[in-house]
């Protein structure tokens, strides 16, 4: 306290700006108390407390709590180290690489989950750059590439019809696109590298299990008309280097999480999409395709599968004949629809919207074999692995 400090010590503290012990509030003045003057060196008080002991205790306690949290993440939640998460910075990194790539992929979560990049590379010798974003309008990403004068490769545009033909808004990827040019700063890049390095050792660093993401999940639809955090989409994927997404294995094996994930889609029920909206989307897509082709690039559309329970509602909102078929005609583009791939029928979609990890390889195998027929830009390697089929990832169908 002030009385315990000698005059010379107090003076020294004043000059140095830091003093031991807390001054009463009225004595620790700020610039607001000194109008129109040169402001002196500010005074900072160090409360008389055993700070070193307290600090050691706090860091030890935090280490213990964090270790317990990590244990909980691994054993109870089922998170894994090496699942490196995605981020706007990671997408920006992929997007920059995509500018000069031979093949890039854009679209929503379906093409993101359902493309096995390793399989693609083994078959063609080309590893595509994965630039799709969950919950994002593939048309907006297609236009983003159309605006990129450097891109002259093959662009695979994946789609869930309801996402691609959404009347307005970009979706979750909006901020990714908007802040793209801010996410290549040195501090962003080092942050990305450090984050990935840490996530190779720590499982709890998963954005789906951030404190502010899971804490509000006690709200089980309490307020009608709002999207309650409990009903929101929880973690359904794991992410590996190169933005390789796969279905989180707990969604495949845990009935509760699988049931929750299925429920979160609300059956993909949407009101019927006005034909005028579809026409507008097709028109904009055609223009983007034209611009990419004008500088030597090309575009092929891919429609990954969805389970019958969703598909029926997707068809009600936008029939294939109104959306997909007319898009290919309108954009004068080639496309691969999961319905048309015999090897891609009746694959496993644990939460109805995305393929299981093993089935992603089967679907990739199926669509890449079709892709090489549609474009001269890709060829099947002579040593490409043999074709995969439904039995490589799905249980045998009951006889009869």
């Amino acid at each position: 306290m002030p009385s315990s400090i000698s005059h010379s010590k107090a003076r020294d503290a004043e000059v140095r700006g830091v003093r031991e012990g807390a001054l009463p509030a009225g004595l620790r003045q700020t610039a607001s108390h000194r109008p129109g003057q040169a402001q002196p060196v500010p005074t900072r008080d160090i409360p008389l407390r055993p700070w070193v002991k307290m600090g050691v205790f706090a860091f030890a306690a935090t280490t213990l709590m964090t270790a317990a949290w990590e244990w909980n993440a691994r054993t109870n939640i089922g998170l894994r180290a090496g699942d490196i998460d995605d981020s706007p910075q990671a997408w920006a990194e992929a997007r920059r690489a995509a500018s000069s790539a031979e093949v890039a992929i854009v679209g929503d979560s379906r093409i993101l989950f359902d493309t096995d990049l390793d399989r693609f590379e083994k078959m063609t010798g080309v590893r595509p750059v994965q630039a799709a974003i969950v919950g994002t309008n593939g048309r907006a990403l297609l236009e983003n590439f159309a605006n990129d004068a450097k891109f002259k490769g093959l662009l695979i545009v994946g789609m869930a019809d309801t996402s691609y033909f959404r009347p307005q808004g970009v979706g979750i990827g909006g901020p990714y696109l908007k802040s793209f040019n801010k996410n290549d700063k040195p501090s962003q890049l080092t942050g990305l590298w450090l984050d990935r390095w840490l996530q190779n050792y720590l499982a709890f660093m998963d954005s789906d299990y951030r404190l502010s993401r899971w804490a509000p999940r006690f709200d089980n639809g309490w307020r009608k008309g709002t999207d309650s955090p409990y009903d929101d989409v929880w973690k359904i994927s794991e992410t590996f280097p190169g933005r390789q997404y796969f279905m989180w294995d707990r969604i495949e094996t845990d009935p509760y999480l699988q049931g929750h994930a299925r429920y979160a889609w609300h059956g993909f029920k949407r009101p019927p999409l006005p034909r005028a909206v579809a026409d507008k989307v097709i028109e904009r897509s055609a223009e983007a395709v034209r611009r990419i082709r004008a500088r030597g690039g090309d575009v092929i559309f891919v429609r990954p599968p969805s389970a019958p329970a969703l598909r029926v509602n997707e068809e009600k909102s936008l029939p294939r004949s109104v959306g997909w078929d007319r898009l290919l005609v309108g954009a004068n583009a080639k496309g691969i629809h999961a319905d048309d791939l015999p090897q891609a029928q009746k694959l496993v979609l644990p939460e109805l919207s995305h393929l299981s990890r093993k089935c992603a390889a089967v679907f990739t195998d199926a669509y890449v074999r079709r892709l090489v027929e549609l474009t001269p830009r890709l060829k099947l390697r002579a040593d490409a692995p043999p074709p995969l089929g439904r039995t490589d990832c799905a249980p045998a169908l009951p006889k009869g």
């Binding site: 000059v15 140095r16 700006g17 830091v18 807390a22 009463p24 620790r28 700020t30 610039a31 607001s32 109008p35 129109g36 003057q37 040169a38 402001q39 060196v41 500010p42 005074t43 900072r44 008080d45 160090i46 409360p47 008389l48 407390r49 055993p50 700070w51 070193v52 002991k53 307290m54 600090g55 205790f57 706090a58 860091f59 935090t62 709590m65 964090t66 949290w69 910075q89 700063k185 501090s187 080092t190 942050g191 450090l194 984050d195 840490l198 709890f204 951030r210 404190l211 502010s212 804490a215 509000p216 999940r217 309490w222 307020r223 009608k224 709002t226 999207d227 309650s228 955090p229 409990y230």
Partner: protein
């Protein structure tokens, strides 16, 4: 670089190691700090370091020549050169697009159609902060409040010192330059207290502002076409009051903590502002270094309260309008500042009308609540991107939406209300004390326990490395 990033943790560890390495002289340590500060700034956008250099060199020489000048008008000329260069850079980068847009609108209003080329200029991070810091140097020398810095290194380090560089507190040269003159080394208790402040600041920013409050604000303010009702509008606006406080006070607290670890003292920038009773009290507690800067270099030169009532009110309004514009190149910020100017003017009039009125406890609480409520109205203009958006929320606040859309889910709403109530309650309870005094009265075990919980929450929240709101100013 931002405090709430992994990059900063590595950077800070390296800076501490260099600062406390025994084999460097004090002069070398200052050079290390200067280089580290440039690195800190360049990590965001390397080319903009040039602006820092321009600001540093121009103001250094302006002050030097001001002191050497024999005639008063020569001194004035150097002061004006400094003001024009600094405000010119600020005006070009921050207000160029805004001025151009307004010029186009004005021309259109008189029937002239003008299509200028697109204004695609990136705002250099923290330019508003370091411009004000360097301006105070030449203005203080011009006003003979202080002498020029004795060494260019000390002055350059004052401008660039990374804890305050990009988002304040806005320091004056007389506050920091003397601290560079003598070797400084923090004692262990000072370092640990600094780390505790850094933890508190990061908790405010990462957990409260970004984690829990921002999504509630966005649910209403970033929902085009939706019509929020009274509940949603109030909760979102209150959440924004909490968010902007935790964001900015969190930055200031972190900055003070970081500086303390290096052995330097930085001034308070917030003093429990939501516990304010009245608006002059609020501005003595909110962003203190900016409000005192505006008072010393704008309000007082405009006449202050020395030239009668009318001039005082005009100076008050002018200061607050420009203060609003400082926050952003948008008319919504000007209205925000104007509302505060209006509040301050009304308060001034009421104080002269009811001299000698001393509120009791209940009246104090009532006035604090009224102050807080009216401040929330101003935040609507601060947060909304357009007047239309602001109008939608204000209509909701007034309960005038015919068919309101429910926008905020119950869970986040409950958590936001709890957090904002805790902030308001804490500010009220601590309005006449300091954090340090409260810590000194609290058992060490409790402080250590709270510290570990805050740190754990920061780690578990992880954060997304999002920039502080005030970075854009």
């Amino acid at each position: 670089m931002i405090f709430n990033s992994l990059t900063f943790l590595v950077f800070f560890a390296a800076v501490m190691a260099l600062h406390y390495a025994p084999f460097f002289s004090w002069h070398q340590k200052k050079i290390n700090l200067l280089l580290a500060s440039y690195l800190f700034y360049a990590a965001w956008n390397p080319p903009f370091v040039i602006l820092l250099w321009i600001s540093t060199v121009v103001d250094w020489w302006a002050a030097q020549w001001m002191v050497r000048a024999k005639r008063e008008h020569t001194r004035k000329l150097w002061m004006l050169i400094s003001v024009v260069v600094n405000l010119g850079m600020l005006g070009y980068f921050k207000y160029g697009g805004f001025l151009l847009d307004n010029f186009v609108d004005l021309a259109a209003a008189v029937g002239v159609v003008y299509h200028p080329p697109g204004w695609d200029i990136i705002l250099p991070v923290g330019i508003s902060f370091y411009t004000f810091a360097t301006l105070s140097y030449t203005l203080d020398v011009y006003l003979r409040r202080s002498k020029p810095a004795g060494s260019f290194l000390n002055y350059a380090l004052f401008v660039t010192f990374f804890p305050h560089l990009v988002a304040g507190p806005i320091m004056r040269p007389t506050e920091l330059v003397p601290q560079f003159e003598q070797p400084r080394q923090a004692r262990l208790n000072q370092i640990f207290f600094g780390l505790a402040l850094l933890t508190l600041g990061l908790f405010q920013k990462v957990v409260l502002a970004d984690g829990f409050l921002a999504p509630v604000v966005e649910a209403v303010y970033d929902a085009p076409g939706k019509m929020p009702g009274m509940l949603d509008s109030w909760v979102a606006t209150l959440a924004f009051a909490g968010q902007i406080f935790c964001d900015f006070a969190g930055y200031s607290t972190s900055a003070i903590g970081v500086a303390l670890c290096l052995g330097f003292a930085m001034p308070d920038n917030f003093r429990f502002p939501y516990g304010a009773v009245g608006f002059s009290d609020f501005w003595r507690r909110w962003h203190i270094t900016l409000s005192s800067w505006l008072r010393d270099y704008l309000y007082i030169p405009l006449g202050g309260n020395r030239h009668g009532q009318a001039r005082t009110y005009a100076a008050l309004m002018g200061t607050m309008l420009l203060g609003g514009l400082w926050h952003g190149a948008n008319w919504t910020f000007v209205v925000w500042g104007g509302l505060h100017g209006l509040y301050l003017s009304c308060e001034r009039w009421l104080r002269s009308r009811f001299k000698g009125f001393t509120p009791g406890r209940a009246a104090t609480l009532g006035l604090a609540l009224l102050t807080f409520a009216l401040i929330n109205i101003t935040w609507v203009f601060f947060r909304a991107k357009t007047f239309t958006d602001a109008g939608v929320v204000l209509k909701g606040i007034a309960g005038m939406q015919a068919k309101p859309d429910p926008l905020i889910a119950a869970g986040p709403m409950i958590l936001a209300i709890l957090i904002v109530s805790a902030i308001f309650g804490t500010h009220l309870a601590m309005r006449n004390t300091t954090l340090e005094a409260v810590i000194e009265r609290t058992p060490s075990v409790a402080i250590a326990g709270i510290w570990s919980v805050l740190l754990f929450a920061v780690i578990v929240e992880q954060g997304q490395g999002s920039a502080f709101i005030y970075f854009a100013f």
